[in-house]
Point group: C2
Chain length 472, copies 2
């Protein structure tokens, strides 16, 4: 007879002692796994074991049924419970999860860091967002808990369509908009929609993530070089690509704005063959510091060849994972036929709060405030550089919009610029890192300084250190 | 000289009138697009035009600079502004976005619907969730607005690891966990991690979305049949697949629990060749109505061949898009090397609220409440069917756990079951739809009834209608 050491501490939710049936279950499972109860062996009857252990017959029955459900025992009607053959070495007892390197490697941080991924969240209207969140929480909870439409909440999409019409020169119906958990996710979805067997062209230099996402999605990626008007369509034509990813409103990191003539040329390229598409990434078009924002390329497209992407991660906060794409009608039909089974990737809470944020004009006001804030930050940087560079050795580019500057110093190579800055405790980013390996033109080079997340109070000190590093 | 009709309604934020510079910009752009201002033509000087229009010179300059930035004009230093050649037909004026079919096709709804995707959100502890949300909103806003770690908030991951250890028999360190916007997204990420050139096996019958997601990710998918112990490993071996997706705790829709012997056999299959992996989808393991939940297959894996998936969409609410996967250490190394550039897809708000929800024991309490609630719903259904089926024509399967039943009626084909139920206003789902097309065994067939989202008050009426439809 099995003698099982039982600890009857009760089975209340406040007790750490497992219930009696579970203690019996664990003991027998352990005996089977260790081979001490052999395959084919018959277990004591429920009545006999319960009398022996002084527990109720029900307790033993629950343990036996659990062991049967998991396949440790076989129940033979009118006969009893038998040990199953496991045909496996006894289970290795893992007492500890594996020891692993930490999430975040310990890279030494410089005193000042002009990284380009930053966003100034200090001016995010958090109290408004919190108020809207509290109000949304008081709404119909059932609606908040059910899944939203796979393309996103229709009212949110209507608000996005309105914004695009008023600010980006885009006429889109809410049905064309797909809201998703960031533009990375949506770009992955676009690859499924367009086909990963196609060749995808990317701007070179460009945002390295774009290439990695496209390759992660299984597409072949080919870099295409730029001239002073942006992506060269002649080179694109020769690349064999059927899809091109561009940032016409504001190229990263060169700052180029693609003029309307080049845009028209790009659209003509798309029309030369069936199945050609332009992926327009408009991610920081909102931050143009003089005049109005450059209208989107999509607004010129009358042939349904542009998929437009944008995100709220840069304009609001990186922690809100909300982006969207605008599908031309023929692609929307494909999406609806083949991909509508994907659930929306954005929690409905966030969608409803953002909807209210747009509806009540907070978004436009926030954009306007941030445009001023970023412009002041840019002006402060440009002013400091002008003051520290009396002999005019600096050349500054990409300053009209976006959230970074591109700097070159006469007589100084990029590697020396980056290394000497780092030695002074200021991290700047080499332009060549944005080129595909092996394609950096000899004449190119420079330092990219993102300033969106840079603390304004440090501007003077950081520029002074750079001036020293670069012997301005 | 250009005579531009200007409407000086002011340019305050409350005025709908565009600012004067924008009216000038729009007018000239329209003239260029329409070909009325020809390529090469010189525009009036800023001074001349401003005098002519009676606006400030600054206003004209802003308009000219915008047109130059967008490529409509060319600025020649010390000469003036010239119309650029557009080389494009005049822009088609889209006054309206395209007319599109509505988001949600208008399918007639039955009086009663036993669809399997439902979740009972009436018992979601919304007030607790709202309280936690309000408390999180009072925390450090800066932290809430910055992006979280790509794998998810570390404290949330620690809570998930604790839950997995205590309830699912899984020893995982928080570093192994990747939080993402639903298990669909995470399965797509797993394909990138394992390689889409591999062949993926899925259970047949099974959840049709799994197949579609794998195919959407670019993988070749092969169906593998089941016997009474779940997926047949002998067939898997012959399928040529290197990766298999399984639901060992509770098969959908057959309800099979994979016994420990078959689990060991599956793990042995994985070890027979390098690069073989098991994707364990544990999505409704929490809802087992007798005894304790079946421990996860991952807990038996001592050779790092199982990727474990679960989601909070079924246990909490579909609108919270939070799932997670547990990567074995060698795959984690690959993920960290190649895929850490993907941002977390879950807003940090949601992650922090869920963390608190887990930390403070609400999740376990909710699970326990829902288990009772779903068990009561199942019992009510089984009771009604027993009462309405005096001659015992019904056979019911998959009832021990999960959130659906599988019904068969002696002498009635599946198609007749589904059609006669629909005629009585009750929608049930044919089992054959969960088989890959062309592979439904002749003897198979039945009706799948999901009851998680079914209103308890309708149980009696719906079963009465089914009894009539099926002549029980």
């Amino acid at each position: 007879m099995l003698t099982i050491p039982l600890n009857s501490g009760g089975s209340s939710p406040f007790s750490k002692q497992p219930p009696l049936y579970e203690q019996i279950y664990r003991y027998i499972r352990g005996e089977i796994e260790a081979g001490r109860l052999a395959a084919g062996e018959k277990l004591p009857s429920k009545r006999a074991l319960s009398a022996h252990l002084k527990v109720s017959q029900n307790t033993v029955e629950t343990a036996y049924e659990q062991l049967t459900a998991e396949g440790y025992l076989l129940a033979r009607p009118r006969s009893g419970y038998y040990v199953q053959r496991l045909e496996t070495p006894s289970r290795a007892v893992q007492a500890q999860p594996p020891a692993l390197p930490p999430d975040t490697p310990d890279i030494p941080k410089p005193a000042f860091d002009f990284h380009t991924g930053g966003v100034d969240t200090d001016h995010f209207p958090f109290s408004v967002w919190a108020k809207l969140t509290r109000e949304i929480l008081c709404e119909d909870s059932r609606r908040l808990l059910q899944a939203v439409h796979p393309q996103g909440d229709p009212t949110l999409r209507a608000e996005i369509a309105r914004y695009l019409r008023e600010y980006r020169g885009i006429l889109a119906s809410p049905e064309q908009i797909v809201v998703g958990a960031g533009s990375e996710y949506l770009l992955g979805l676009a690859i499924q929609l367009l086909g990963r067997e196609k060749r995808y062209a990317v701007e070179n230099p460009g945002y390295p993530k774009t290439r990695r996402i496209l390759e992660g999605g299984g597409a072949a990626v080919v870099p295409v070089e730029l001239d002073e008007d942006g992506l060269r369509v002649d080179r694109l034509r020769r690349s064999g690509a059927a899809v091109v990813h561009v940032t016409p409103s504001h190229h990263f990191p060169l700052g180029t704005v693609m003029p309307v003539r080049r845009r028209a040329e790009l659209l003509r390229w798309a029309l030369e063959e069936d199945g050609r598409y332009i992926l327009e990434d408009d991610y920081d078009s909102e931050f143009r510091f003089s005049g109005r924002p450059i209208p989107a390329l999509q607004g010129l497209d009358t042939a349904d060849r542009v998929i437009y992407f944008n995100t709220f991660a840069k304009t609001l906060a990186p922690s809100l994972r909300i982006g969207y794409m605008v599908l031309p009608a023929p692609l929307l039909a494909v999406y609806r036929r083949d991909f509508l089974f994907y659930s929306s990737t954005v929690p409905s809470f966030e969608q409803h709060v953002l909807r209210r944020f747009l509806q009540e004009g907070y978004f436009e006001r926030h954009l306007s405030r941030m445009r001023n804030r970023y412009k002041a930050q840019r002006d402060a940087l440009l002013g400091e550089f002008a003051r520290r560079d009396p002999s005019g050795k600096l050349r500054i580019q990409a300053q009209e919009s976006g959230l970074h500057l591109l700097l070159r110093v006469r007589g100084l190579e990029e590697a020396a610029m980056v290394a000497s800055a780092e030695a002074e405790g200021v991290r700047v980013y080499g332009l060549s890192a944005y080129y595909q390996a092996g394609t950096v033109p000899a004449r190119e080079g420079g330092a990219v300084l993102g300033y969106a997340g840079f603390p304004p109070s440090s501007t003077e000190e950081a520029v002074a250190r750079l001036a020293k590093a670069w012997a301005l």
